[in-house]
Amino acid sequence: MSPLFVFQLRRVARNRQFLFFTVLLPALFTVFFTQVFAGTPGGVSPEQATATMVAMMSYGAIGAALGATVRPSFDRASGWLRQLRVTPVPQTSVVAVDVAVGMLLTLPPLAVVALTGRFAGGVRLAPGEWAGLVGVLWLGSAVFVALGLLLGWALEEKAAGGAIGIVGTVLAALGGLWVPVELFPSGLRAVAHGLPSYWYAETGRAAAGGALPPAPAIAALVGFAAVFGGLAVLVARRRPLTAVAG
């Protein structure tokens, strides 16, 4: 493992807020939604419990991907990225490590929420379905890693912190991660279908049912990843020139 990778991972791991919002909070929500509503008339069906867990896995992974990758904006503001540029550490590995750290950090919320769903939420899946569920959500999180890097490179420190919160909330709320899309009015449902978070959770719901992700979901996620990634590269190319003054 490269020293830079270890260094970056340790920095994020030290951030308690990050761990709370991306791992603990979605896990608590899972318990809350599966246990609290179990006492209400009608209870919680196994399908609803699974859907809740998948939504919370998606929510946690999106938060982790965005939170881990917005960091270039802070490191640019502190002057650290500039300092790093005058050491032998190559620029390409700085970017590669940011991507790798983002991808790695989506795993803890996926794993913790899945375990919570299994042992505290009463979700029962076959081993292959568990593996497929975590697998597709992990791969799909690349979309949000790309989005986080785009925001981290494009925005200044103060804007970036707020933007992550807003973008994460919008993606979760309007993408149907907090309230199922089926309960949305039709206009809002159309909005959900325009968001990557909806299609992301959709691949998870399919995998939890033992099915392959539907083609529209794959197409949407690949499309979003390409757009976010492409824009991120464009912004990063412009950055070295504009960062000179500061």
């Binding site: 020293p3 340790r10 802070f74 502190s78 002057g79 650290w80 300092q83 005058v86 032998p88």
Partner: protein, 294 residues
């Protein structure tokens, strides 16, 4: 013959409409200690940034130890303290130092590096908890971490107290004695004079004086004698005086020999009301040099 440590040929850099560096030619031989001296806006930082490959020149070439700047940095040949460099948050000093040391092919042994830069008690400290002076010492340690043959320092002592400055320049002199090429930007004449064996004075993105520090010092070490004098009195011919300016009732004489000038004035019976003698500011000195060049 080995290539120069730094070779700038016709370097031109624009920041938008502003011409920051204007056709600069500068060659630094290996082992030299060179001060880039000049007022704010002289183009010192831009020059340092170009040598480090942090910006792309609009014209001209930059070679660092015979390579392109980015290649020299990648090869671990360069250490730098930047004016706008910084340390990462949510990290400990020791971790940052370890990361940077690992990136160089031949890192400075940790104990020695820590002792030299005086950061012994700081390795376990959170970066965010450092004082200004401590940060500066850590940044110095990062610059020295790879024992690079070339050091570039952009106003390295700006956040240091007197004590810190003295220790810093002692370290620099030691490194220079061991053959490290040191190029530093400063707007303190005393620093340039005390440390560099060559001083390059910059103004308006150009070199206005370049030579051994003693020669540059004598060129810029003029004094200004000020006093109130009635209109009409002329002082151009007074011994030592190189220029006379008048602002309201006050006359300012630039002189290379304060004593001779004052003796002559007193001998002539001039009433030296509100007398004031001052060292020329760097701005004055640069102006006189620019005047001398043109």
């Amino acid at each position: 013959m080995p290539p120069d440590a730094v070779a700038l040929t016709d370097l031109t850099v624009r920041h938008g409409d502003v011409l920051a560096v204007d056709g600069l030619d500068l060659h630094v031989r290996r082992g030299e200690t060179v001060a880039l001296l000049g007022p704010n806006g002289a183009g010192k930082s831009t020059t340092v940034s170009a040598v480090l490959g942090l910006l792309r020149p609009d014209a001209g070439t930059v070679r660092v130890l015979g390579r392109a700047p980015a290649d020299a940095v990648r090869a671990g040949c360069v250490g730098a303290m930047l004016q706008h460099g910084g340390l990462p948050g949510e990290a400990r000093v020791g971790e940052v130092l370890h990361l940077v040391r690992c990136s160089y092919p031949d890192p400075w042994p940790l104990e020695d590096l820590v002792a030299t830069t005086g950061i012994g008690g700081l390795l376990g400290r959170d970066v965010d908890a450092l004082s200004g002076g401590q940060r500066q010492r850590v940044l110095l340690a990062l610059a020295l971490a790879g024992q690079p043959p070339l050091l570039l320092l952009d106003e390295p002592t700006s956040a240091m107290d007197v004590e810190g400055r003295r220790a810093f320049w002692t370290t620099m002199r030691d490194l220079a004695a061991f053959g490290t090429t040191v190029v530093f930007a400063t707007h303190h004449l005393e620093e340039a004079d005390a440390v560099a064996d060559r001083v390059v004075v910059m103004a308006g993105g150009r070199v206005v004086a370049d030579g051994p520090s003693a020669a540059v010092r004598s060129a810029v070490a003029g004094r200004t004698v000020r006093f109130s004098a009635p209109d009409g009195a002329a002082f151009d011919r007074v011994p030592g005086v190189t220029g006379a300016t008048r602002l309201g009732g006050t006359v300012a004489l630039a002189t290379t020999d304060v004593e001779a000038t004052l003796r002559a004035l007193l001998a002539d019976g001039v009433a030296l009301t509100d007398l004031e003698v001052r060292g020329a500011s760097l701005e004055d000195a640069v102006l006189s040099l620019v005047g001398g060049v043109r």
